[in-house]
Symmetry: C2
């Protein structure tokens, strides 16, 4: 394959589900053929440090450091630093491991020195041996804020501190209209062949990315194959509060509801095998459907789903040309 | 004893030696009768965090967290955070434990919110159950900088990174003339009965405190008893590079050299028993000498030395009145 025919895949991802598929993609595609754009709407300052939960989940997953039990954090990490911070009067509802703290300390230091979040992320992922590009959606702050029956909450306050219990009325992506896609994201949007929307929360992971100026329009107008993988399987979220939020916002908690969210953004919605009966209902929403096993437990599952999604993209590409 | 007769002891201290005597003093004196003023000339930013080595040594010692093997840091602390920072490309020559990091993170956060170092120190020591007042010498930055045969080095670069190997030509306390004694220090200077100069490095621990505007003059003019404990025993420093630096700066590495440094600042210099033969030589420098065991290994040693120093202060006080 020559450079001119090298195809670039752009994957949009949030936390654990997105990181699983991105790991699969990274096992198949060489570093120059994959750009993983990660939601930063969950970023928050804890103890004066810049924490980027989704970037970290992605980084720990691709570097092999991740904790397979929790999906977040570093495997085998201790909580000594956090316990001591608690003794020192800090509010420690957000779990941060001692090795995990190093990431936040280093990121904060490099940002304070004037580096962009993109450059910091590039440096930190390289330090951990990751060859693929993990790119924050923006170098400017965008904060996902939930209006709930229990007041206005940041994403982490809602998800971690309040265990996603409050009823969500609406969601805002504060700062999105003043932010712009990071340089790596903007370049990938321009040059990507295929776009993959990973099985992440449509409202809390993907929507903040889409809220950046020009992004939704660019994906809607994208000429290459666009594939989304449903994070809803069997009428419930595989993980996290996506199902609960869809319901609270009046959406149909099913792959049909996901199809309505993504209909202008993807050519094919990938449904899990157990949702095969909804194939026609999805197509009725104006999106083609593909059915395959999407639950990723082992690394083999992740690679297998990535392979099938890439094969689907290849098919779509060939059908067009 | 009524409030009006309550006597205040002001102790000036640096790192490990000072913390040992301060522990002894704190076991004897109630919290309202002791103010421990600590050198901050060693403070330095590591990984974007404000580290105050002497304040921490004092805090860990008085809270019982300290590591008796090293003298610094927290007993049983791990180095996971630091090791991870190293993987992330940080320069990690300065040892910082995972629980120790919590102290620096919390201090940095509270300072960034606008608290003074005095208020932050008061809060953090209270959180660790310390009832006695540990007070930074100043709320403004003062940095001990060494001019050596291997360039200009900060105190920690000289002491930790270069293991005190370079030859010291001169020492500067950068910022001292623009700084002022912290409010707690200034108040104690005004109201203290006795002043105790702990067995700390004269050049690296005590001199930065004396370099603050008005401090040397206030101690020289202090009407109450002033006692210094020699950090040099048997012609060498009990710990650290004090002896080496004295020699390099052309001073006599003995209690006589210490007497010359402190002659206007103390009424009595406490010599260790093994320096008894130098009693007259010290007195010839214009300072009275008292002889007692000063090597503090156990907590009992610390309390015993503190008791004897306080008895000496009482004696001096009685002789004047």
């Amino acid at each position: 394959m020559t450079a001119s025919t090298t195809k670039l895949v752009l994957a949009l991802a949030g936390g654990v589900g997105g990181a699983k598929l991105a790991l699969g993609l990274s096992r198949i595609l060489p570093p120059d053929q994959l750009v993983i754009v990660v939601n930063t709407g969950d970023d928050e300052q804890f103890h004066g440090l810049h924490v980027s939960p989704d970037l970290d989940t992605m980084t720990y997953t691709l570097s092999g450091l991740y904790n397979p039990e929790t999906g977040w954090g570093i495997d085998g990490d201790s909580f000594e630093t956090l316990q001591m911070l608690n003794r020192l009067g800090a509010d420690t509802w957000f779990n941060l491991g001692s090795r995990d703290f190093a990431m936040h300390i280093r990121r904060t230091e490099l940002l304070a020195r004037g580096s962009s979040l993109s450059r910091v992320t590039s440096q930190l992922t390289a330090n951990l041996g990751i060859k693929h590009r993990i790119v924050p959606m923006s170098d400017q702050p965008v904060r996902t804020v939930l209006d709930t029956d229990d007041g206005t909450l940041s994403m982490q306050e809602y998800f971690v501190k309040r265990r996603a219990e409050p009823v969500v009325r609406s969601i805002e992506y504060v700062g999105a209209s003043d932010a712009e896609p990071s340089p790596g994201f903007a370049a990938a949007l321009n040059s990507a062949s295929a776009i993959i929307i990973c099985p992440s929360n449509p409202y809390l992971s993907v929507a903040p990315i889409l809220a950046l100026p020009g992004v939704r329009e660019a994906i809607e107008a994208h000429p290459g194959p666009r594939i989304a993988i449903s994070p809803i399987v069997g009428g419930a979220a595989v993980r996290g509060p996506a199902g609960k939020i869809m319901q609270e916002l009046g959406a149909d908690v099913s792959v049909v509801g996901v199809a309505r969210e993504y209909r202008d953004l993807c050519d094919v919605l990938v449904l899990d095998s157990q949702d095969e009966v909804l194939t026609e209902a999805v197509r009725a929403e104006g999106v083609d459907a593909a059915v395959m096993p999407t639950i990723m437990q082992t690394d083999e599952d992740k690679v297998q789903l990535a392979e099938q999604v890439l094969a689907l993209a290849e098919d779509l590409e060939n059908r067009r040309t």
